[in-house]
Amino acid sequence: MKYSLLATLITGLVTTGATAQTPDSANLERISVLGARNDMSSIAGSVALIDETELEKFEYDDIARILATVPGVNIRQEDGYGLRPNIGFRGVTPERSKKINIMEDGVLIGPAPYSAPAAYYFPMTSRMTAIEVTKGPSTIKYGPNTVAGALNLVTRPVPVSSEGGIDVALGGDGYQKAHSFYGNTIGQTGFLFEGLHLSADGFKTLDTGGDTGFEKTDLMAKFNHEFATGNVNHLLELKLGYTEETSDETYLGLTDSDFRESPYRRYAASQLDKMDWEHTQALFTYHLEADAFNLTTRVYRNDFERAWFKVNGFASSLGATPTLQAILNAPDSDAYNRYYNVLTGATDSTLQEIIVLGNNDREYYSQGIQIDGEYRFTLMNLAHRFEAGVRFHEDEIQRNHTEQRFFMRSSELVNTGEGITPTSTNTEQSETVSVYLQDTVDLGAILLTAGVRGEFIDSDYQNRTTGFEQDYQRKSYRIWLPSISAYYRLDANSGIFGGVHKGFVPTSPIQDAALEAEKSTNYELGYRYANNGTQAEIVGFYSDYSNLKESCSNSAGCDTDEEFNAGEVDIYGLEVSAGQRYTLSDSLTMPVHLSYTYTDSEFNQTFYSDFEQWGFVNNGDAVPYLAEHMASLSVGLEGQNWLVSAILSYSGAMPEAAQTALTGDARDATLAGVETDSYTTLDLTANYQLSARSEVYAKADNLLDDESIVSRRPYGARPNKPRQFVVGYKYRF
């Protein structure tokens, strides 16, 4: 009974197509948004699922490495460990993953998805059992951001019988992992406890010595109970989670010249930088299931508190100072050399080179009730699958930003004694109602899906600084976002799909109501083939933005998320993925998977923006931080009790700014004409099963030890993670 209910919950919630599949054990008990892998072949839209087997193969902690195999995902690396990933889909800015919907078990998991969408909290991917990527018209079910897509992280389900596991690993640069879980179901009641601890000393070397790594701990508990009334089955589940991170992370990178000499160096000025956060979550799920009808209600609450103490820039008691980006871009110039020398600790500060450290202290909450339902019926001899959902959501960010000033004295930061100065003290809050409805009708060879999403957002910004009570804004915004898509079955194994939907990204409460929200019309057309171990998909996409909006957060060098409009922009590209499992012998198989993404973009007008990533933009210039070509090739060999896999990933160079060359104007984008490095990384992993319950594994990330500038933001050149060897042991019971 339990199996059937949960299995139907998964597939029934979202499965596209009229043919419900019998779920296999890998799908059991997870609250998925996509459904079973087999069902995905007839989804009218681009979706991808990375299941537990795939995730365990490489034991990645960094979501960027995991998503490298998914076409249409653009990523800007930052700290090398993926602590705060920058992910975009189909050309939207990857900046702090703010334009995609990040969900855990189907619930928005960003700290404040409406009020402050920058994802400074990201769930630990090491504990996930599946990762689902949705792009195209299917996105309409997941708001508020519909321009790009949704990323759903699926946590471990409560096991149906006594089950546990331990995974321990050690690696270079002090890397340590300890991961364990245990759960059981007794009668109709089940539970699960899971703990994960990750830490590393860091691969960067501070000029003054000291760790540059991190420590993260994640605890999760689940309790569920299942019962039936008549022909209706019910499931109640409570998930509780706690995560904390302390990381010696900085926004300060290097000059290009220093990077080429020593890419993993960190300047003395970043010696006190530290991120410290805590996240708690509670999710209560109630699911009811009948023959042709199911309904899932989720009540959720997430709290996030963070304080990031880090170098913000310079101050002078005598007036203005240049930006860190400008200094690192021209460190030898007369105007900037003295600042550079202070950053590195080579010379002491004078009153003109005081280093400012900001403590960006923020408290967030996100809570709501989300109800999703599905009803299957036949009308005029046509099978319909009708889905609808409503979400009452509220989130808030409270900023309590402060700054302190330091002198560089003999390579140590010494407080000037001026005390702590408040900078931003404000609150942004959003109360929203979202609804969607979608009907999929089976017309024989064609599955036709039409849907609409409504976003009703009431938001409130208030400056909490004494004397600024009148600095507030209240906004109400209502928008309807339609979508239509179709899947045409060519034969039992292949089909053509296409669709169009309205893209939307809301503005945050602090942004002037006069600023237009981001809107686009998104098109896709694709072909999919799937047959016994072979799958292939090719999708062309085109996003026609009537207004591209970017927000400049701390990670881009702004204090508060200031937003900028670029007007009309086109982004288009091609996504290709193909996989085949070759059987070499009775005991040897070779899975091969290739993915490739081509993306191009252009602004449709000439304009100037003081957004540092744009500057002087000419009609036809490309959107920054989009690699034209990205590809990955994974090849494995799997024996009866062992496997070896390799992933070769390539990312092309990306422009650091839309402005293509300096003009000599003082308002030039500092990084005009500068590109990140293109880079190729090779990751290897090998697993050997010692017994039915235990295995050892070894892996090498970035085996070729590629040293590339993956971005020059927030301030200066930053490296990818260097070669890292890890060995680990897993035991299941």
Binding site: F293, L318, D334, A388, Q470, Q473, W480
Partner: protein, 415 residues
């Protein structure tokens, strides 16, 4: 007890209602309400509707204050250049008049500096273009470097040296101050590899002559820049910036309205806050961090070689007073008149009194600012307080009554 059929019915009904609503044409709508301070707008709008003639204020300030100051400065630079040439000629001839020429050069520098400190309060238009490039060519403080000047003393002896291409910390009034008033003949470069080549091997006489020769080049360049500034404002046939400025808001003009140009003057006047009050007084007093931490630090005064800091501050206050009144004459139109016009006579009177008091106090101080900081820092603190009285009023009533925007440099609070 729930009924499954009822839930189904409710669901279908809600979907139908939603669909109806979505198809009813309400694709997008918005509404908003903002507080008076939102987006940095003034806390309160002008209390009295005004018919004030802002153009008259712009003309008065341009004709009676800004242009006369720039013209005087251009004249000062010509005199300064001539005096330095005389000084260098005397040096080269080993004339007995050398000391007299040097004193004359120093006096000319002081005269030019007093005028420029007036102009510092008038950084509008051409002086601000390209990151204040022209302003920095004339006077780059606080971005100064005695080592950079020492380097160019030697580099300028090369045939292909072109001062026009050199960075701003190597020329201008600040470089001339070092060259004319610093009697230490050793170079000031401390980091390895930055020393001027061959300097230590030179005799004292060679060093003095080399510095003087470079001062001639700097003075000549200063003359050119002063003229560039004047030309930029006057232009040929009234085509200069002044024409744009006084016609602000007229069709085709770069300013959207006259108030925007008035706001540019206001922005310039806030030099009194960020530069005069904070950088020139609060920093050496240790009210904000300086090289001594939070203690009195005489080495952080503005013009340390010429010991001219107090005169600079006095000139700043004087210039602010002139801008506020729109000129010296009684029929000048200034911000005092604007305040009276919008019904805030109290602020007009109070600011006039505060400015007069600050100016009189600055003028009453004897000795240099360095001396005061070392021997009587309370008097310097009092001067800081007098200036702060003015800036407090400017940041509040002045800005609010005239619906002006506070410049970003004064939005933070060092008080």
């Amino acid at each position: 007890m729930f009924s499954l059929n009822k839930i189904k019915q409710a669901m279908v009904l809600s979907v139908a209602l939603t669909a109806t609503f979505s198809l009813s044409g309400c694709g997008e709508s918005s509404s908003s309400e903002q507080g008076e301070q939102f987006g940095g707008s003034p806390q309160t709008p002008p209390t009295t509707p005004t018919q004030f003639n802002q153009k008259a204020l712009l003309e008065s300030v341009a004709n009676n204050v800004i242009l006369p100051t720039y013209k005087l400065f251009a004249d000062n630079t010509v005199s300064l250049s001539a005096a330095i040439s005389g000084y260098c000629d005397a040096q080269r001839a080993s004339s007995n008049d050398t000391a007299s020429w040097k004193t004359q050069s120093q006096q000319q520098w002081q005269d030019a500096m007093v005028t420029w400190q007036m102009a510092e309060m008038m950084q509008i238009g051409p002086l601000l273009e390209n990151n204040s490039n022209l302003r920095n060519k004339i006077y780059s403080w606080p971005n100064t470097s005695s080592c950079a000047v020492d380097q160019d003393v030697v580099l300028s002896e090369q045939a292909d040296y072109d001062i026009a291409t050199r960075t701003v910390s190597r020329k201008g009034l600040d470089a001339l101050e070092y060259l004319l008033f610093n009697d230490t003949l050793d170079h000031s470069c401390t980091s390895f590899g930055s020393e001027p080549v061959g300097w230590d091997a030179r005799t004292d006489e060679q060093k003095v002559q080399a510095r003087c020769a470079y001062a001639e080049k700097v003075a000549a360049d200063l003359t050119i820049q002063a003229q560039v500034l004047l030309n930029a404002w006057e232009g040929d046939d009234n085509s200069g910036y002044k024409n744009i400025f006084i016609n602000a808001g007229e069709p085709g003009n770069a300013f959207t309205d006259a108030q925007a140009a008035v706001n540019d003057i206001s922005d310039a006047m806030f030099y009194i806050d960020s530069a005069t009050k904070d950088a020139k007084l609060a920093a050496p007093l240790g009210i904000i961090a300086n090289d001594c931490g939070l203690s009195v630090c005489p080495e952080n005064v503005e013009s340390p070689y010429a010991q001219h800091s107090l005169q600079n501050i006095t000139a700043n206050i004087k210039a602010l007073n002139l801008l506020f009144k729109g000129g010296e004459s009684s029929d000048a139109v200034g911000f005092d008149d604007y305040l009276v016009d919008v019904g805030d006579s109290d602020t007009a009177l109070q600011m006039t009194a505060d400015l007069t008091q600050a100016l009189e106090y600055a003028q009453s101080l004897q000795n240099t600012l360095t001396h005061l900081l070392e021997n009587n820092p309370d008097s310097a603190r009092t001067l800081h307080g007098e200036v702060k009285d003015v800036t407090d009023k400017m940041k509040a009533d002045f800005i609010q009554s005239l619906s002006l925007e506070l410049p970003a440099t004064s939005a933070g609070d060092n008080d």
